[in-house]
Amino acid sequence: MKRLARWFTRLYPRWWRARYGQEFNALLEDAPVTLPHVFGVVLSALELRMKPSIEPRIVDLASRDIPHGHELETAVEYPRADGSRTLVRNFSREIDLGDSYVTLNHWSRGAEPAQTVLVFGRKGEVDGDFRTDETEMLVLRADGTVQRTEQTVKTWMKYDAIRDGLRERYRSGMAAGLSPDEIFQQIRASHPESA
């Protein structure tokens, strides 16, 4: 039965065998292995193949209130199918000036060059849950060039309430001594469709 189980370990993804193969074989030598355990090995290997990645993991998160707005810094690890991870860092600042607003987004993904996007918006007519804004978006590229886009966009007003709610969850979680990832897990558990 042990030989059968060891044979089925070849069903695991290559990255998994490289990382865990040796210690897993040591366990198969030590532990009693029954037929249900062999099925367990097959199921576990197939599960890793079909669901190679788990959810993103927040490794750093900070939120600060500033005059007329707030800042948010995040660092999130995204698992890849080969078992490696990509780190995405993001800094955003939102400033609300009453009839207009400015948002700054600056992010990098793995080893790719960072990008920065500035949006200047003038608030327009409100229609139900939506507002029509006139915006100018500047994409500041790593090579020093700037891409400018002017457009009329519909802003979903409920977004602000959702964002403020999440920020409050973050504050209360940090006050309770939870890590950013634990706060994210709590939010996921209460609103699985939003995370």
Binding site: A5, W16, Y20, Q22, E23, F24, N25, A26, L27, L28, D30, A31, V33, T34, P36, H37, G40, V41, V42, L43, S44, A45, E47, L48, I54, R57, V59, P79, G177, L178, S179, D181, E182
Partner: protein, 96 residues
């Protein structure tokens, strides 16, 4: 209580252990004998989450694992939730 990840966290709360030691420990305190595939499925998920980490194993192929600070907090939170469920269940059954 049969969630393999919770059982692994609870086992490592006592100290560092390699796979076979975890299997034996879990069988003792929970009455559940995890198979190798189930155990390493849980270990993979927990390490990816940053809740456990491998420790030095020397020349031995058996790799010990330890709880991280995040893993300890996660275990405390899960046990606290379970405790609340047990208390409520017992109260409703009028055993408490």
């Amino acid at each position: 209580m049969s969630d393999p990840t919770l059982l692994v966290l609870a086992s490592l709360a006592e100290g560092d252990k390699h796979g076979y030691a975890m299997m034996e420990d879990i069988a003792r305190f929970a009455g559940v004998r995890l198979g190798p595939g189930t155990l390493y499925g849980a270990i993979t998920r927990l390490e990816q989450r940053g809740w456990i980490r491998p420790t030095k194993s020397g020349e031995d192929r058996r790799q010990p694992y330890a709880l991280t600070a995040d893993g300890r907090r996660r275990l405390e939170a899960q046990l606290s939730d379970l405790n609340q469920i047990v208390k409520t269940g017992l109260k409703r059954l009028k055993y408490a």
